[in-house]
């Protein structure tokens, strides 16, 4: 799959001396949903702002659709739709007027049919004549998405699209994003909700302290870094573990009622078979057992902590 965005050696130092981005290299594939994860202040919004033309880079190069964002900014920017994190909207304009304004701003001829389709897709059609100030927060968020889609972009940036949005609306937005991807739009989203990335993304990038810590296919990432946990519910409580089980790094929980064993799914041997054998030898019996897989959130927290 070819790259639609190519970021090379990108750095950003603010006037205060703060380095928001440090030599970032990133390729976004055409047609994918890419989730950029990172804690607050990691550099996510700065990276998006530079690609979209809102902030100037200190060093490095960015190509969008093969066009340099600085020397060929018209072509590059016309490919992009941006939904920023904050709800920046005109208060006194109607939904229809503000979305139509965005289309004109991006140099596209009037197309009421397209605007109508966008508003209908985002369940905003019945609000088209309402002033934006009268809309709820979730509706305003959708208006911003409508503005970003008004000029039929090939790339859509969603910076924290579901921040402060209720569960139902969040799931509705995921549907919209999936539909957009099916129509060929490349989507880059930043999010705090790991669940969102896990649900939506094809690939995941993690940024921390201005550096890209990891870029990986979501499935591979889950497989590579995913840990599983075996929990054994014991028949009788244990005061301490026998020495014969010392090398398994077991954890005795719930006042000795459960035994927890973490193992790596990528390892050739998980050690489960021998553990169960050794438990029987040691005379430890259990009523039940369950296994759980670490979530993307666990992976993310681990990565950020170690980077």
């Amino acid at each position: 799959m070819s790259s639609i965005i190519s970021v090379a050696n990108l750095s950003k130092t603010y006037g205060s001396g703060f380095k928001a981005l440090k030599n970032v290299n990133l390729d976004i594939k055409r047609g994918e949903i890419f989730a950029l994860l990172g804690p607050n202040g990691a550099g996510k919004t700065t990276l998006i702002s530079i690609i979209c033309g809102i902030a100037n880079p200190s060093e490095g190069k960015v190509l969008v659709g093969g066009e340099n964002i600085q020397t060929s900014y018209r072509k590059a920017r016309s490919l992009i739709g941006l939904v920023p994190q904050e709800l920046h909207t005109d208060a006194f304009e109607s939904v229809w007027a503000t979305v139509s304004f965005s289309r004109g701003l991006f140099g596209k001829p009037k197309n009421p049919d397209h605007i109508e389709k966008v508003l209908k897709d985002l369940s905003l059609w019945d609000k088209k004549d309402n002033k934006i100030i009268t809309l709820s927060g979730g509706m305003k968020r959708r208006v911003m998405i409508a503005k970003a889609l008004s000029h039929e972009p090939q790339i859509l940036f969603l910076d924290e699209p579901t921040a402060g949005v209720d569960v139902e609306l969040r799931k509705g937005m995921w549907e919209v994003v999936r539909t957009l991807q099916q129509s060929g739009v490349t989507i880059i989203l930043t999010t705090h909700y790991i669940e969102e990335a896990e649900e939506m993304a094809d690939r995941i990038g993690v940024i921390n302290k201005g550096e890209i810590v990891l870029i990986e296919d979501k499935a591979t990432l889950m497989q590579k870094l995913g840990k599983k946990r075996l929990t054994l519910h014991l028949q009788g409580k244990l005061d301490a573990l026998p020495e014969s089980l010392g090398h398994y790094e077991l954890e005795l929980c719930d006042a000795g009622a459960t035994l927890v064993y973490d193992y790596d799914t990528k390892g050739e041997r998980t050690g489960i078979t021998s553990l169960l054998g050794d438990l029987r030898t040691a005379g430890i019996r259990f009523n039940d057992l369950d296994t759980t897989q670490s979530s993307l959130e666990d992976i993310f927290v681990d990565l950020v902590r170690t980077s």
Partner: protein
């Protein structure tokens, strides 16, 4: 050239004028009418002619300039400051549009509003005093030049301001006094010699003088000097705006 983007900004800004018709048009017209009543009728009736024209007629170009200057600055500064304030500037900065086109959209709309306002005030003045414009083409040219120049100046203030106080500061503390002291209500020749010299440092003197000449062929300074000074101010504003966009001053990080 992204014509559609210029048009979009221009129409968006003009739509705000129609939406706020009362503040944009009616309010300046009412205050100007009051000037005519106070200065033209009440005080003017006690003043004999100024350089061959009645006082009420004499102050018409100055009053138009007063409104055009202040409204150009107010319209343009608010036009660009408001998106900065609400955050919607992100869309302008991320659009495939050059800085020149952004300025054309905002300043074009602000200047248009001022010109319309100037012409409405002129028509209103016609209700109070007899008017005869000797050089209508020059009058229009001066009106357009002044509206554009001071809209550019307003655009600079709108970029510079980081709060509503600053937005008001320059127009209230600098522009209004300069306009009142720039010969709106009197001829510079009426001042004592020392103050006449000081007055010549006021750029507004040249605007009002040139504009008044196009009406009555009377001027404090020659027409060419008036045009030259206005153009010089226009060029200064353009250079400052070019620098703002080149550096991203108060627009981009």
């Amino acid at each position: 050239m992204n014509h559609r983007a210029i048009r979009a900004i221009y129409l968006f800004e003009m739509a705000r004028t129609w939406r706020t018709l009362l503040q944009s048009i009616v309010s300046p017209v009412v205050s100007t009418s009051l000037y005519f009543v106070v200065f033209g009728a009440a005080i003017g009736s006690r003043i004999s002619q100024v350089e061959g024209v009645s006082y009420g007629t004499f102050i018409v170009p100055g009053l138009i300039m007063l409104s055009v200057l202040t409204q150009s600055i107010a319209n343009a500064s608010f036009g660009i400051y408001f998106p900065k304030f609400t955050g919607t500037i992100y869309e302008i900065l991320s659009a495939p549009i050059s800085y020149f086109e952004i300025v054309l959209g905002y300043v074009g709309a602000a200047a248009t509003k001022s010109i319309i306002l100037g012409l409405i005030i002129l028509a209103t003045a016609g209700l109070f005093v007899p008017l005869h414009i000797h050089h209508p083409v020059w009058m229009l040219a001066f009106l357009v030049l002044t509206a554009v120049t001071f809209s550019l100046f307003g655009f600079i203030i709108g970029i510079w301001a980081d709060g509503f106080e600053k937005l008001q500061m320059i127009p209230m503390l600098v522009v209004t006094p300069l306009t009142f002291l720039g010969g709106s209500f009197y001829s510079i020749d009426m001042l004592p010699p020392t103050w006449r010299t000081v007055a010549m440092l006021n750029p507004v003197v040249y605007l009002i003088s040139g504009f008044r000449w196009s009406f009555y062929e009377i001027a404090d300074v020659s027409m060419s000097v008036s045009v030259g000074m206005t153009l010089a101010f226009l060029v200064i504003c353009l250079v400052v705006i070019w620098w703002i966009f080149r550096t991203g001053y108060r627009l981009k990080n």
